[in-house]
């Protein structure tokens, strides 16, 4: 008899709780934003944060509420933007697809080590100690902070120099933000010439520090027919808006710091 009371009481409590929850979920239901749901379905779901939001979910909410532009998803590129424009019923414009590129070619054969660094194996820590273990204080340190940050595993370090596989890269820009030396930049997927140095020292000094340094000789600047390449602070800088992809500058560069690249096929110079 006792067991029956126990059963009944527990069943009654359970039933009450169940009814309470059912009623509550019916009356207190919060209508979910349908648009946000649809937008979220279009997004890749990598939660990389390249859009500037905490993840795909919060970006979808922001887009649905009209607080954010629909073209901010960099990994998704034109595909996702197109789908979003269908969902939202508005035109969404995107630039060309981008990839991250390491503007440094100071591997261990070219860049002299000034100290033997044996501290915490992180670029950030190494950079704080006299600007890093290499004599060039502008270049890649090669301890792989970017490798750890990359959500898709596109970066590898070889001979103390980070290399990004443009075919895997989703251009989320996390490595750009994390690199203490700022040698990584986002460039268009269709660029033909890339600068592989970040050293802003004068020619002779730069050369002394790294065999693969840009000398700032301005040969490229004189050769360029389209006014697209300029030497700023002893370092060649390409204005890709003006560049006509002729590749003449790369041919005349005496140190070979201007490289012909083909990002789509994984050629990074």
């Amino acid at each position: 008899m006792e067991i029956l009371t126990a059963l009944l009481v527990v069943a009654a409590v359970g039933l009450l709780a169940g009814i309470l929850l059912a009623v509550a979920s019916h009356f207190f239901a919060v209508p979910e934003n349908e648009t946000a749901k649809k937008v979220r379905e279009c997004l890749p779901g990598a939660n990389c944060g390249a859009c500037g939001f905490a993840g795909c979910d919060s970006y979808a909410e922001a887009v649905a509420e009209g607080k954010a532009e629909a073209n901010l998803c960099i990994p998704g590129g034109p595909d996702v933007a197109g789908q979003l424009s269908d969902v939202l019923g508005v035109e969404v414009s995107v630039g060309p697809a981008k990839v991250a590129y390491v503007n440094c070619s100071g591997d261990c054969s070219a860049n002299a080590q000034k100290v033997a660094y044996d501290g915490v194996q992180s670029c950030k820590a190494a950079a704080m100690l006299y600007g890093g273990p290499f004599s060039c204080k502008f270049g890649c340190i090669g301890l792989g902070d970017c490798v750890a940050e990359c959500p898709v595993g596109a970066i590898s370090v070889k001979d103390d120099l980070a290399r990004i596989d443009p075919k895997i890269c989703i251009a989320c820009g996390k490595c750009v933000k994390t690199c203490p030396k700022g040698v990584i930049s986002l460039v268009g997927e269709d660029v033909v010439v890339a600068v592989t140095c970040s050293n802003k020292e004068k020619g002779a000094v730069a050369r002394k520090h790294c065999m693969n340094a840009c000398l700032g000789c301005k040969k490229c600047e004189k050769t360029c027919q389209h006014d697209a390449i300029k030497v700023v602070d002893n370092l060649a800088v390409i204005d890709y808006d003006k560049c006509e992809d002729c590749g003449e500058c790369a041919k005349v560069c005496p140190t070979g710091r201007l490289k012909i690249v083909d990002m789509k096929n994984g050629v990074i110079g």
């Binding site: 009371t5 126990a6 009481v9 527990v10 409590v13 709780a17 309470l20 207190f28 915490v120």
Partner: protein, 206 residues
């Protein structure tokens, strides 16, 4: 309320925060203690949610014990009924907050499902009944204050430990101790330190 009463309440709070800390002395609620203590702000969020749920759970389970289980002589069903009630209650609170206080839901929301059947919450409700009973006229008040103290103790332990963990993250830990092992060792140190509080609370206001 007389002085004697206030004294008792203060002693209840102090002893449940320091001496009988649920995490560090009774080893209940270890799961969120290790899981959500990586960052200070997360551990604060979790701690506040636990205080909230402990208070509400005690407020609901005490009457159930007093007016349903005890009259029917069904004290032995305590655990099962309490789990059932607490789980349903937390779910209800989540739905309720989502509708009426979205801001609070956003800050507590992620932690509420984690606490649904947390052993610390269940432990508090059951211990309150064992410690203070249901007959005494002050039992309900004592139970509520004790839940508040236990929640504060949980918050205290979480914040303390998350600070410690952020120091561990930055230090050079031997390869074989990296991750959970060093965390558990650190937890045991804090726990041992808390045993030093045993015996001081009784004489706190003497």
């Amino acid at each position: 309320m007389n002085m004697e009463m206030v004294k008792t309440l203060i002693i209840i709070i102090m002893s449940s925060v320091l001496v009988d800390n649920y995490v560090l002395s009774r080893f209940l609620g270890i799961c969120p203690f290790l899981g959500v203590s990586k960052k200070v702000n997360q551990s604060v969020g979790m701690g506040v949610s636990v205080i909230f749920v402990m208070l509400v759970a005690t407020a609901v389970t005490w009457p159930i014990q007093a007016y349903i289980l005890n009259p029917l002589k069904m004290g032995y069903m305590q655990t099962i009924v309490f789990i059932l009630v607490i789980a349903a209650l937390v779910q209800f609170i989540e739905i309720f907050l989502k509708k009426f206080i979205p801001a609070l839901h956003k800050s507590l929301g992620v932690y509420l499902p984690l606490i649904t059947t947390n052993c610390a919450v269940l432990g508090v409700t059951i211990n309150n009944i064992t410690d203070y009973g249901v007959e005494d006229s002050n039992a309900f008040l004592f139970s509520m204050v004790s839940s508040l103290g236990c929640g504060l103790g949980f918050l205290f332990a979480m914040v303390l430990f998350s600070g410690m963990r952020s120091r561990i993250e930055e230090s050079d830990v031997p390869e074989s101790f990296k991750g959970l092992p060093v965390t558990l060792v650190a937890a045991s140190f804090i726990s041992m330190a808390f045993f030093g509080f045993a015996g001081i609370v009784e004489n706190l206001l003497a």
